[in-house]
């Protein structure tokens, strides 16, 4: 099965900062697709995550404004307090609609909107977390023909989120945390040719 990947979406909650550092740290600066990430955070905690992640990866990390074009080689980090969505013209779209799974940003909201836009070209990844946000979204990515991946729960700081994703029956691949970055990179380059 050869499948051209056009975007990667990743969701994490509890333990996400360390997980993101280790996953994004393995991605090269010239990754030919955009990466969009949701990390659950408290709305009053400030918007420092993009700056922290920027020190951990060779990719260009962006704290996007709304309508910002989504471009290859960049990591887009959802700000606290907003749902981050992908719009049909491949720009960032924000919403203050009610929290989903008690979360805003919600992983499901990103995954549903990205699944709609990128269809079979989307790679969705669920990392560590202590709730089941992302399970519905990863199911939709699978329904749209995309590729789905979860962190192996034994390597997760909180296993609820990857377990909930795996329990949907819609996960194609399960990998240890330290392998995920490399696998993403291989999928994007190897199958994208």
């Amino acid at each position: 099965m050869r499948q051209r990947i056009s975007a990667v979406v990743i969701g994490a909650s509890w333990g996400g900062l360390d997980a993101y550092s280790r996953v994004l740290g393995k991605l090269p600066a010239n990754l030919p697709v955009p990466v969009l990430v949701v990390q659950h955070q408290h709305p009053s905690g400030g918007d420092k995550l993009p700056w922290i992640l920027d020190t951990r990866t060779a990719m260009h990390v962006v704290a996007p404004m709304e309508k910002e074009p989504i471009e290859a080689g960049c990591v887009y980090v959802a700000p606290p307090g907003y749902h981050m969505l992908v719009d049909v013209d491949h720009t960032v779209c924000y919403s203050l609609a009610a929290p989903v799974n008690y979360s805003r940003p919600s992983i499901d909201e990103l995954f549903f909107s990205a699944g709609h836009v990128y269809g079979p070209g989307l790679l969705g990844v669920i990392l560590t977390g202590a709730n089941d946000d992302g399970a519905a979204g990863i199911t939709y990515i699978k329904q749209r023909g995309g590729i789905t991946m979860a962190q192996s729960p034994v390597t997760a700081e909180a296993r609820t989120m990857p377990e909930a994703a795996i329990a949907t029956g819609c996960i194609d691949q399960i990998h240890d945390l330290d392998d995920i970055g490399t696998v993403i990179s291989e999928l994007v380059f190897g199958l994208g040719a």
Partner: protein, 289 residues
Amino acid sequence: MKMPESVTDEQVSIEDIEIRLLLEAIYQLYGYDFRCYSKASLRRRVLHRLGMSGMPSIMAMTERVLRDQQFFVTLLNDLTVNVTEMFRDPEFYRAFREEVIPVLKTFPFIKIWHAGCATGEEIYSMAIMLEEEGLYDRAMLYATDIDKNVLAAAKKGIYSYAAVKQYSENYRRAGGKTSLADYYTAKYDGVIMDQRLKRNIVFADHDLATDQVFGEMNVIVCRNVLIYFDRDLQQRVFRLFRDSLDMGGYLCLGTKESLRFSACEEHFEPVVADMRIFRKRQLMKRETR
């Protein structure tokens, strides 16, 4: 385990057509124009209401919207996303107090327009700040929204006690001079805002998508409204704001909203860039298009 059925590109485009028909029905029957709203978030909210309603399709929902006004009111509330807080983004209010208020103090009279005021939390925040700075009595505040139901709520100024507890913390971080409790009266499990705060506020319905220039304003506050609009509608609204502002007038946007991707950027200059406070500037002749 049974795999869920696939959702093909064709099904997705049919959904898109259904959404367009729904919006057309709403526009033709009720006059609310959502056709230029940002596609991604509109789609999420329509599908969210569809899931909650238990109806089989967006077409079925359209049918119901055409026959059942109460259902439309529910959907309208979903589509307009009336999420707001008092002193939301306290750093913005602090910056406004420090950088804009001193300039406003030199004006004999001040007109402020809150476009998309929803349930009114931010207009009361502005009213409180103007009171504390001794400016309220020479200010006129215009609070507008597309949705008459939320305007009615804004006029009442009644909020839940749990919410107000969080607003108190915002107020403090925004540089409030006393205690937020000085501006409301607790009643049962809610609070009612000091009715004197309304003496110079005019509440009016106004649709940024279809209505015209509102008057010569010194300040326009429109925060987290433009995020729901597509690029063309944003362009219209930026022009409307430009034409409604006095020269040097202030435009305050939400923290994630930008003039950068619009053709109006040249008409404004940043005052406090990271808090999205801009000023209308005089264009040199060679700059005008």
